[in-house]
Amino acid sequence: MKRHNGHIRRVIFLVAFLFCSGAITAELSATDAIEALTGKTVAVLPFANYTGTSHAVTTIVPMIYKELSQSGIDYITSTDLRPTLRQYRIRSVGKIGSADAHSIRESTGATVLLAGSFDVYREEGNPDVAISLRLIDVEQMKIMAAVSIAATGEDFAGLFGVGRLSSAEKVAQRLVEKLFKQLRKDLEMASRRHQDEKAGHRLAVVTFDNITDTRYAGEIVSGILVSGLVQDGFEVLEPGLVDELMLRDQIVLRGEIRLQLLRELADQYNLDFLITGRVEGFSPQRGSVEETHPEFEFGARQLDASTGKILATYDGNTSGADSETILGLGRCHSLGELVARSFKGLRKTIRKESERRFE
């Protein structure tokens, strides 16, 4: 009888575990101090909001501040930064040029900047959220860490749909927690690379051209690509530096680069490669989870920064259903996640080409 009871207990435990597996995917909030930021002041720049709804800002920004506080980071909120931005007429959001970054440092003492964007924030249907964040070292104007993260409510569902999140706010909360964990991990990795003196190849990303109906699709995917490349160990130029040079020449380039500008970038920032491309399809999941899926189509190319020669091209056309195995399993619901997955092939091509060039 005792043995029988033990058996039942084990079964109950297993069933409970399976039921809750979806609910426990998000881990506890990041509370450990981030070593790389100890003793430094982080200025939070105004985030670029590409979502089309102000809810993204009002919901996510306080979550970011909470995580910064819990991580023991000394920070200046974007609201407190506003007088400085006004004083130096700094209008760029989501990215920053060298001159502006140094003005902020002089005025506030902040040596690190937190910039980023809210890429997707969809409240209706299956809630979809995508966020990109970057930490920038002002002294060297170098991206210290960059993370792009995305998920839908459906992604948290375990067996029989237990754990599925129905509000964008809850999805955002989980993502912000995960994002800070990833930032911490990336900073540790970067510091290890620095100790090993393993400097990655330097590259810049010119904002992708956008021919889709979705406004800012070029900016969103470029941000996601920057994060992926930083995680691959490349030294990626802060996108604001590229914009700064374009602004000086009074041009706005999307999905292309002019040789003169490329050479200048190469000389000034010791650049090895430049990546750019075009977004041709960018549509989120609409309607029910079963019926539709996100779609993404793009083309990208890698240029040699010293000659302007096209070294590699990569075309991608994917949908959320491509990864489906059976009964909807493995399907990708989040547009941001689909973009990140699609970029894996491109990043591999870039890595290969970089290794080949410097063999």
Binding site: I257, R258, L259, L262, E280, E297, R301
Partner: protein, 191 residues
């Protein structure tokens, strides 16, 4: 015997009708005296969109550059440089550029030849649960010494082949059809 013959005939007619919906063979012009070995570096002028689908030409141009590079036959100029060179001729349609203007663009870009083209048709038709895409492209290569066309090809890709018509299989997205069209067009120049 006669029954079998007529049966075969019906099958042949049916097959030819169904395959007739799929892509046609390309129409090609090749300059008989031009030495193509002279061309090392080329530029692709953004294709014109004569179809009703927004972005069709832009997609075709991008895929054309990719496929051209994949052949490893020519060095291709960065599209940003092409845009810069075309700034002076912004008000003129690419198809209306004169020989002298083409020569000037070629010199500015330092290329031996320019690819120009248009997407004449890009459409998707839906019948029942199946959809069919059709893309027609016209591309030409102009050498930049005198501005003479040395190669030209027209190709239509898409439609539903025999098996697709019969079993509703093998549906291709517009992007795939465009890529196939570009590949087959280029194949008439570079084998």
């Amino acid at each position: 015997m006669t029954q079998m013959k007529s049966g075969l005939l019906i099958l042949a007619v049916l097959a030819s009708l169904l395959t007739g919906c799929a892509g046609m063979k390309p129409t090609i012009f090749l300059h008989p005296e031009y030495n193509f070995g002279y061309i090392e570096k080329v530029a692709v002028i953004p294709f014109e969109n004569l179809s009703k689908e927004q972005g069709a030409a832009s997609r075709a141009t991008r895929l054309f550059v990719s496929e051209l590079l994949a052949t490893e036959s020519f060095e291709v100029v960065e599209p940003g440089e092409v845009s810069r060179a075309l700034e002076k001729f912004a008000t003129i349609r690419a198809a209306q550029l004169t020989q002298a203007q083409l020569v000037e663009i070629g010199k500015q870009l330092g290329v031996q030849a320019l690819f120009l083209g248009s997407v004449n048709e890009s459409s998707s038709m839906r019948s029942g649960s199946a959809s069919t895409s059709v893309v027609t492209m016209v591309v030409r290569l102009v050498e930049t010494d005198q501005g003479v066309t040395v190669w030209s090809a027209t190709h239509t890709e898409g439609g539903r082949g025999f098996w697709a018509s019969l079993f509703g299989t093998g549906q291709k997205s517009e992007s795939e059809v465009t890529r196939n069209c570009v590949k087959k067009t280029l194949k008439t120049l570079i084998n």
